[in-house]
Amino acid sequence: MARRRRQRPGPFDYSRKLSLQMVFVLATIFLYAPIIVLIIFSFNDSRRGGNVIWRGFTTDYYVKAANNASLIEAFTNSLTIAVISTIFSVILGAITAVVLWRWRFPLKPGFEGLVALPIVIPEICLGVAVAVFFSYFGLYVPPGTPWPFNLTNIIIAHITFSFPFAAMVIRTRLQSFNREMEEAAKDLGATEFQVFRDVILPHLKPGLIAGGLLAFTLSLDDFVITFFTSGPDTVTFPVKVYSMVRFSVTPEINAASTVLILITLVLTAIAMRYQSFGDDRQ
């Protein structure tokens, strides 16, 4: 029986085709090989040209990266920006999702388009526009502003491009909300605010977490928009790595990158946990 099936694939048995499996495997190798090589060579014991010849195992470059003050500062900046912009993005995203889900109002398709716009327009356009906007109104944070307020420009830019993403994710979650629950709560005397806090918000939780993680990753990932809005004293991790790569390639970058990849992996694992957690409760 099994042999007969292998001879002639059924209607939707494409995953059994060897040629298609080969494409999948090659695509996977293509996607992962560069990252794996990068991680391996972060342990390479070589002073110059650390990414060319393998010279033995060392963790020196992790120690070096950890002692590189400007790299650590850039790393801290990136995480701070990501945390603050995520908080704002989730709040604004939830509010926007509720607006789109709950009310009928004039020009609603226009507003919907406006919310989607930061998602679709090329990053470079948004980066240029926000940078020009800040300089036009002289809104640049003066040098010497205490941390983390010196990051305000970058944080504003990050919220602008990440909250629409959060809004989309949260809106999808809202669609599965049963409005009779809301009516029941109101019949029992709950105020608008109580309904939002005690009925809608708990239902939204998985959406808020998923939206938040997306906003966090987008913020941590962003190079182009930060590149335009950052000043000389406000360097983020991607901007720092970019300037390091342009001047010289050192295994320190590999080590720092490996740490960031690890953080991403942990976050993705958390995201998956919460997503399946949300499904269980449905």
Binding site: P9, P11, F12, Y14, S15, R16, Q21, V23, F24, A27, F30, L31, Y32, A33, P34, I35, F41, N51, L92, I95, V99, W101, R102, W103, R104, F105, L114, L117, P118, P122, E123, I124, C125, L126, V128, A129, A131, V132, F133, I156, A157, I159, T160, F163, E192, D221, F223, F228, P238, V241, Y242, V245, S257, L260, I261, T264, L265, L267, T268, M272
Partner: protein, 309 residues
Amino acid sequence: MEDFRRNLRVFLAFFTPSFGWLALFFLAPLVIIFLYSVGETVSLTEVKTTWTFANYARLTEPEIVTLFIRSLWLAGISTVICLLVGYPVALVIATAPPKWKPWLLLIVILPFWTNLLIRTYALLNILGTRGRVNDLFEWIWVQADGALRFVGLGEYQLLGEEYEPIVFLGRWSGVIIGLVYVHLPFTVLPIYAALERLERSYLEASLDLGAGQWRTFRSILLPMTMVGVITAAIITFIPMLGSYLTPALLGRGQVDMIANVIERQFKGANDWPFGAAMSLFLLYVTFIILALQAIAAMRRSRLRGREHG
């Protein structure tokens, strides 16, 4: 859904922060670069809006036209490669046994969660003339050469005297590899979604009626998932067209795309009005692509309505 007038206070409490943020930090910046794009530089830091059309006229300079054509070409060819690789990948995931599906999907999505700069840097490392990719090719070359020697063709040196490393960096090939590498996950997901929605009985019918696998793919599977393919093409092509990092690092400043030249107007050349005009032009191109897609979608749904009606 309720009418906004019924609870105007609550509506405004929600609507104001959301719209306000977008108006202040998104629409206002766009208006300002529009004003810059019709302005002139009067001093080092000052731009005056003079309602001139000169900055847009400069977009027709041969150098800029070449730049736009090169960008469209690079993004176009990379999108085609993404679709050619992405479709089979999506097909394998969509037809895999249910317990494998989430894991296969994760394999494709995980790189998307990894930092773009790190991924580009990782690619930069292995694509050099002394990088791992050339190591691999050299190994293959040595094996092939050995095999030729073994069958007695050694003295003809059919493969050249020694292995010549392939140059990727600073060439179109390097930029195309980078664009495909970065955007492949974007391509797979919409195609996968379309395949999941597909009514599988059509395929069964086609096979039962005697069509082969290839014919079934060409005349049933592909047309029925075309919407997903088009969506995939668009969400791959638009970010590719505006790519900055990939051409900057893998093109080594020798294969510029639009974004690299825009960046130079703001950071190096200090020609903000021209940079503004260029970025608005890129924006218009994006809008045209999206509008065409919307029109096509509308026409499709009308056709479908007529079929049913």
